[in-house]
Each structure stands twice: as structure tokens, then as C-alpha cells.
């Protein structure tokens, strides 16, 4: 598959995402945020980092980058889109995914390994997992507390759109322990933890690799 990793000014997990996608056997290219052309990518990744210094709110300014029009069209056309950490924040700010990522309940920046439970395997990104399987992945964020109104949360649960939940240790106070969600079309996934940092043995964990393998496609 052709994978495009978008680079915003302040992205810092772009190379990691590129590497994880490359290791999974994909043709990977970086796309600068000023570009309006995704180069015919099948999959777009919005990586982690601090686009625009997280000024105003994390993702609030990045969502208006020129590339985002193409990203929105890509998602609307049903093509695959993954937002990791800051990328998830950008997707929520852009309204491509519902809800928002608010400041961590404990106020501190959290940087540690967490355990996730796979709640939905009917997305291209999670088809390589078993439902209920637990994974380990690092989190590294100051604004990762998933919030949405009760009606939105109920809808996400009802439609099976909670993709990952923190198992046991909820590092940021996310409502209903939500760590990752998908859109109505199930082609877009946003998650706070970093699977690209747990995608090869050298990193101490390979649990995240299946996400980039795109077994469902």
C-alpha cells in the first residue's frame, strides 16, 4: 500500500511512523503540511508531535493547514486515515472524529507504557488483533483526556466505535477509559498511545506492529 505521513511544523513522531509503515512493507512518503497533494496515498498517517507548538489548543491550528483539505477529502472518500497522539488531536479539532482531547486530569505530562484493550477489530488498523486482546504501548502527552458529551459517548459505544480502551491504568482521565475511536465509516482511527513506538523488538515491544500491517485490507 502507499502510505503518506504528514509532517506539520512541530511533528516529532513522523520518522517513527514512517519506519513502522516501511517495516510493514508499505511504500511510504512524507507529505509536507503546505502540500495539497497526498500523492495518491491509500493510507494517510497524521503523526504525533506538537504541531504549531500546541498553541491555542493541541491541533487547533494544524487542522487549518493546506494539507487538511486533501486529508478530509481522503477520509470522506472512505480511504484509510490514522491519527496518532497529536494526529488524533488534529482529527478531533477538524471534526473528522467526534469529541476533543482535553488537558490530562492529573495535570502532568504523562510519558509511560500503558496497557490497552482492543475493543473493535472491524477497522483496517485493528483487523490483525483479537477482540479483548491487550497490548502495550507508550503514551506521551499533556492533553489526552478524551471528552465528548454523554450522547456522543453513548453513540460511540452503541456503534462499537471505541477501538481501544485503557486497561486498568487510565493515564489521563479519559472518559470511559477511551484511548482510541473510529469514525462512522470505520476508515479513520484516532488514538493517543503510540503504536509506532512499540512496533519492533528493538523498541522492547512489537504489539503495535499489527496496526501498520493493515491486515484488514
Amino acid at each position: 500500500m502507499k502510505v503518506a505521513v504528514v509532517r506539520f511544523p512541530g511533528s516529532n513522531c513522523d520518522a517513527d511512523a514512517w519506519h513502522a509503515a516501511k517495516d510493514a512493507g508499505h511504500a511510504v512518503a512524507f507529505v509536507w503540511h503546505r502540500s495539497t497533494d497526498l500523492g495518491g496515498a491509500d493510507v494517510v498517517v497524521l503523526p504525533g508531535g506538537f504541531a504549531y507548538g500546541d498553541y491555542l489548543r493541541a491541533g487547533a491550528i494544524a487542522r487549518f493547514s493546506p494539507v487538511m483539505k486533501a486529508v478530509e477529502a481522503h477520509a470522506k472518500a472512505g480511504r484509510l486515515l490514522l491519527g496518532i497522539c497529536n494526529g488524533f488531536q488534529v482529527l478531533c479539532e477538524a471534526g473528522i472524529l467526534p469529541g476533543a482531547l482535553a488537558r490530562n486530569a492529573g495535570l502532568s505530562f504523562v510519558c509511560r507504557w500503558v496497557t490497552l484493550r482492543v475493543e473493535a477489530t472491524d477497522t483496517a488498523f485493528t483487523a490483525g488483533y483479537r477482540k479483548g486482546q491487550t497490548l502495550r504501548a507508550p503514551v506521551a502527552h499533556g492533553e489526552g483526556r478524551y471528552v465528548a458529551d454523554e450522547a456522543t459517548l453513548d453513540r460511540l459505544e452503541r456503534e462499537g466505535r471505541v477501538v481501544f480502551r485503557y486497561a486498568g491504568d487510565n493515564p489521563n482521565g479519559a472518559l470511559r477509559d477511551i484511548a482510541g475511536i473510529t469514525n462512522e465509516g470505520r476508515n479513520v482511527v484516532g488514538m493517543m498511545p503510540h503504536p509506532e513506538r512499540a512496533a519492533e523488538a528493538l523498541l522492547g515491544c512489537t504489539d503495535g506492529a499489527a496496526l501498520f500491517a493493515l491486515a484488514g485490507t
Binding site: 491555542l56 489548543r57 487547533a60 491550528i61 487549518f64 478531533c92 479539532e93 469529541g99 476533543a100 482535553a102 488537558r103 490530562n104 486530569a105 492529573g106 495535570l107 483526556r145 471528552v147 465528548a148 458529551d149 482521565g173
Partner: protein, 85 residues
Amino acid sequence: MRWRVRVRIMPRQGILDPQGQAVAHALGSLGFAGVAAARVGRTVELALDAPAEADARDAAKRMCERLLANPVTEDFVVDTAEALA
């Protein structure tokens, strides 16, 4: 005409405000009695060119809706608009 417009953006009622809680706690630790709660938001001050105050306020409101506030977590109010000399 140039206007100075201040918009105030606050965490929505019912949304946990850990910054406000930490501030209230710190004030208590410093011996300030009677701080029942604190909430922390942000003020954005704009210098806006518009024909009349109503236009400046309306523009600021649209800016809040589009960028300055996130409707999921924040409420906003256009606080003041004053003519700049």
C-alpha cells in the same frame, strides 16, 4: 475604525478543569482562605478593523466559533469592544 476586542474563553461547566483545581489548591496552601473554586480560561485580545462596534463584535464571535474556542470543551463570550484612538 479600529477596535480592541477581548474574548473570554472558559472551560465548559461540567468539564473537569484540572488547572483551576490546582490553582484553588495552591491558593489554599498559600493561606488564602475561602477559595471555594477557581477556573482557568484564556483571554484573547484582538485589534480589529471594522466599521462599527457591532461588526467588530460579530467578527470576533465568528472567530471564536471557527478557531478560538472548541465547542466541545469551551464556552466563549465577547467581553469588551472599545474604540482605539
